[in-house]
Symmetry: C2
Subunit: 223 residues, 2 copies
Amino acid sequence: MTISKPEILQAYQFRHACKEFDAERKISEDDFSFILETARLSPSSFGIEPWKFLVIQNPALRETLKQSTWGGQKQLPTASHVVVTLVRKSHFMKYDSAFVQHFMREVQQFPEDIIALRSSFLEQFQREDFDLLSSERAMTDWSGKQTYIALANMMTAAAMIGVDSCPIEGFTQKAVEQILADEIGLDLQQWGVAYLVAFGYRKEQPARDKTRQSLDAVVEWVN
Amino acid sequence: MTISKPEILQAYQFRHACKEFDAERKISEDDFSFILETARLSPSSFGIEPWKFLVIQNPALRETLKQSTWGGQKQLPTASHVVVTLVRKSHFMKYDSAFVQHFMREVQQFPEDIIALRSSFLEQFQREDFDLLSSERAMTDWSGKQTYIALANMMTAAAMIGVDSCPIEGFTQKAVEQILADEIGLDLQQWGVAYLVAFGYRKEQPARDKTRQSLDAVVEWVN
């Protein structure tokens, strides 16, 4: 079974960075579970799923977060649902970390010989191919890239069922992390904040049309 | 108009990292244009679209790339289409760069006062919020994160029309960049390689079921 291309493209056109939501309209539990399910099913490098999704529904906490989130001033108070996506810190993601080894064994359920093989590929990748072992930031940014796959999938899936969204990078990373540590006990040894993404229903139509470079400007064929 | 949730989830289940494609089956021009269109319509931070998509159809070039792409040994020779996604290098992405200023003016078509305002937000973001000005790598990794949104959208859209894909990070970044510089004159001052992604039709069904953490393990509600 396939979905028609015009219907899919319509969803990509529907999606825009919605700055203000209709505060009266809530996403149904079934619809929001569906959106989260597309995050859960997202692929990630070596399948290690270096993410966690906090759904921030507490109004007081949203208000506190708003103080360090200049890019979410209207979204945080009006969104039906706000997700803060966490990214695993670098030392968990190292090829020989207890976490990665546990993940391959328990979640991915690989047999021991495959775990050994994949660990050696992961070492080659982290050490040589992408030079990730040289800095904590490089490793965390690599994990962070994976969380953007889940971001895209949540926003696209939302648009396909008529739900609006706004991805938010406009926040002070350290401040938001500290708020979550103070308010809900987030373990900052284990997690950093990748991005926020708000979901709901638009209050009004977008003020301007989508602008994008032409296909010719972004695609080059090598035949 | 909305698309039914079970149909969408079926596509997420259909998508897997396809290791070998049926070399005889080609994606139609219309279908592949559609896949690229979902990359083009993808959102990016501040809307700056820090990407370019090379479609590598030349068999000799694929063979050369294969030598530095351990993660694409079967995919590169058998895929109907191979995309190498490029990411803009750091100095282009700085808030006051000629490129960013030009992009806001010519592509996004913002008026001058909005350009000034957005530039100051972008400076605040790059300088303070995410500390991107302190290293070239941090800035390029930030742009790189945006390219993973396009990656997710291409793979999801492909799955929705029954096309398989495989995202590939298993390559030596510097070697692949040098090959593209030597073979097709890629300007390495301007572009780096973010990832490869192959598209086609699976040769056989995946050997194992998808493994993922449970929704309870990856989602935490703060009510």
